[in-house]
């Protein structure tokens, strides 16, 4: 199957041209250091945004799961947040924040495109991650809360010591999945101008009429996302094993 596909591609009429413009070893070598530099920015941005997303997502999820009637406005706010930032394409959020905030010309607001792009990604991904957390919180049986309350723990203590630890453990694989997506979407910040991997590759490509630098960028992404994906697989397998293991008396 794969061999047939490869044969089809390699014998196609346009292959010589494609090979020249996408698989030019010299172009790859020339552009790689620059793209790698840009990729380092991607990695740093990813790590910072990820931490913000984990915290902000949890706060939104907790606000949405709040049970006290008095906290209704908070619940509404959290629901609106997820609706908006999950409902708008990430690239639009990056645009709107990246160009909209500086246009306000308000003193004190950041104007660095990396910061703004990172903030946009953080908002967008927090909405997704909040829903992942919330699914985890909802998946913990209500009896667990009853048991915690019956022991004399407060609502907050029940959430903190009984519900959340179980919820978070369950959603680690889907969380990692969103990390992989975020790791790739960091490239969207390029539309604001920062010289991250995709942007560098794009500039190289258009100045030499050769797309190989883009392939260099893709390779770098794969080097990070594929190992991450394997980590997710292993965690899911371990989770399945633990669930299926009966009690050992």
């Amino acid at each position: 199957m794969l061999g047939a596909l490869a044969a089809l591609i390699l014998t196609s009429k346009g292959w010589p041209t494609v090979r020249e413009t996408f698989f030019d070893w010299d172009a790859f070598r020339d552009s790689f250091p620059g793209v790698l530099d840009g990729f380092w920015l991607d990695i740093r941005l990813f790590l910072v945004v990820e931490v913000v997303v984990l915290v902000l997502g949890l706060i939104v999820a907790l606000a949405r799961s709040a049970r006290t009637p008095a906290l209704f406005p908070l619940r509404l706010l959290a629901a609106t947040f997820t609706d908006i930032f999950r409902g708008v394409p990430t690239i639009l959020v990056v645009y709107l924040i990246g160009f909209g905030i500086p246009a306000l010309a308000l003193p004190g607001l950041p104007s660095d495109p990396v910061v703004l792009g990172g903030a946009a990604l953080a908002l967008s991904y927090s909405a997704y991650v909040a829903e992942v957390y919330r699914a985890g919180i909802d998946s913990v049986h209500p009896d667990q809360r009853s048991a915690a309350l019956a022991l004399g723990l407060t609502e907050t203590q029940s959430t903190r010591f009984v519900i959340l630890p179980q919820a978070v453990r369950r959603v680690v694989p889907p969380l990692l999945n969103d990390f992989i997506a975020l790791q790739k979407d960091v490239a969207l910040v390029s539309i604001l101008g920062p010289l991250e991997a995709f942007r560098v590759a794009q500039i190289d490509a258009s100045s030499n009429f050769n797309y190989t630098p883009l392939l260099a960028a893709a390779t770098l992404y794969l080097l990070v996302t594929v190992p991450l994906a394997r980590v997710v697989d292993r965690m899911q397998a371990r989770d399945r094993l633990r669930r299926s293991a009966g009690p050992a008396v």
């Binding site: 009896d143 667990q144 009853s146 048991a147 915690a148 309350l149 019956a150 022991l151 004399g152 723990l153 407060t154 203590q157 010591f161 009984v162 630890p165 179980q166 453990r169 293991a245 009690p247 050992a248 008396v249």
Partner: protein
């Protein structure tokens, strides 16, 4: 003996379904009362209402003479004085046996950690679970898990224990070890309200039996008397059905 828990005219409905329809009950110190009745008769709901895990619609619940169902009463403070054990154990699966027992004394009762740990170990050892402190609940048998759940409730030194069908989810051969533990608690004078389907258990530990039917207590009295010579036709029918099983 002074009353510990008093239930006065308590009603509770979920939507149109009236689960409790005016229940009165007094549980005195060192007394064990068995709550019997068919599934859906309101036994669990009554226990949950006493522990303030459910809000009642009408009536009062008193603990040591204080009305605890008053809106101004902090339910957390009340629950700290009562212990509850559930049908499905409800141990915390992410915590070890020792951590399960420790959680409430350390977090809710502000006991110093070394002291709480020592007490928890003592309790576990005393009820045959020494050596299992570091295990997670899913490594234990059902009977062991339920014993840990009882010990977890005991660790907070409750005024009374509310036991909700604690043997119903157990394999028959594991029921005995749990009942033995409760029997021991009874001999030490623990005040207990026990919802149960095990009539032999009720006969063993309960001073009194209450028969709950359709959200009302139809018959109550001395255990032996109610179980061997029930007066109400509903009670007779219920006990006969149990024997036929």
């Amino acid at each position: 003996m002074p009353p510990v828990v008093e239930v006065q005219g308590v009603t509770k409905a979920y939507g149109d379904a009236e689960v409790l329809r005016g229940v009165d009950l007094t549980l005195s110190e060192h007394e064990a009362i068995a709550l019997i009745g068919a599934s859906g008769s309101g036994k669990s709901t009554l226990l949950r209402c006493i522990d303030l895990l459910e809000e009642i619609d009408d009536g009062d619940v008193l603990l040591d003479g204080e009305v605890i169902t008053d809106p101004s009463v902090d339910p957390v403070r009340v629950r700290r004085r009562l212990g509850m054990v559930f049908q499905a154990f409800n141990l915390f699966p992410h915590l070890t046996v020792l951590e399960n027992v420790l959680l409430a004394p350390a977090r809710a009762h502000g006991m110093a950690r070394p002291e709480a740990t020592e007490r928890a170990r003592e309790l576990l050892a005393r009820f045959g679970l020494g050596g299992r402190e570091g295990d997670y609940p899913d490594r234990l048998s059902g009977g062991q898990q339920q014993r840990v759940a009882i010990i977890r409730a005991l660790a907070t030194q409750p005024r009374a224990l509310l036991l909700d069908e604690i043997t119903s989810a157990l394999d028959p051969e594991l029921v005995g070890e749990v009942l033995a533990l409760v029997r021991e608690l009874k001999s030490e004078g623990m005040t207990m309200l026990i919802a149960t389907h095990e009539m032999s258990f009720a006969r063993d530990v309960a001073d009194e039996v209450c028969f709950l039917h359709d959200g009302q207590i139809l018959e109550r009295g001395d255990t032996a008397a109610v179980l061997s010579e029930p007066r109400q036709p509903e009670t007779q029918r219920f006990l006969r059905r149990l024997l036929e099983r």
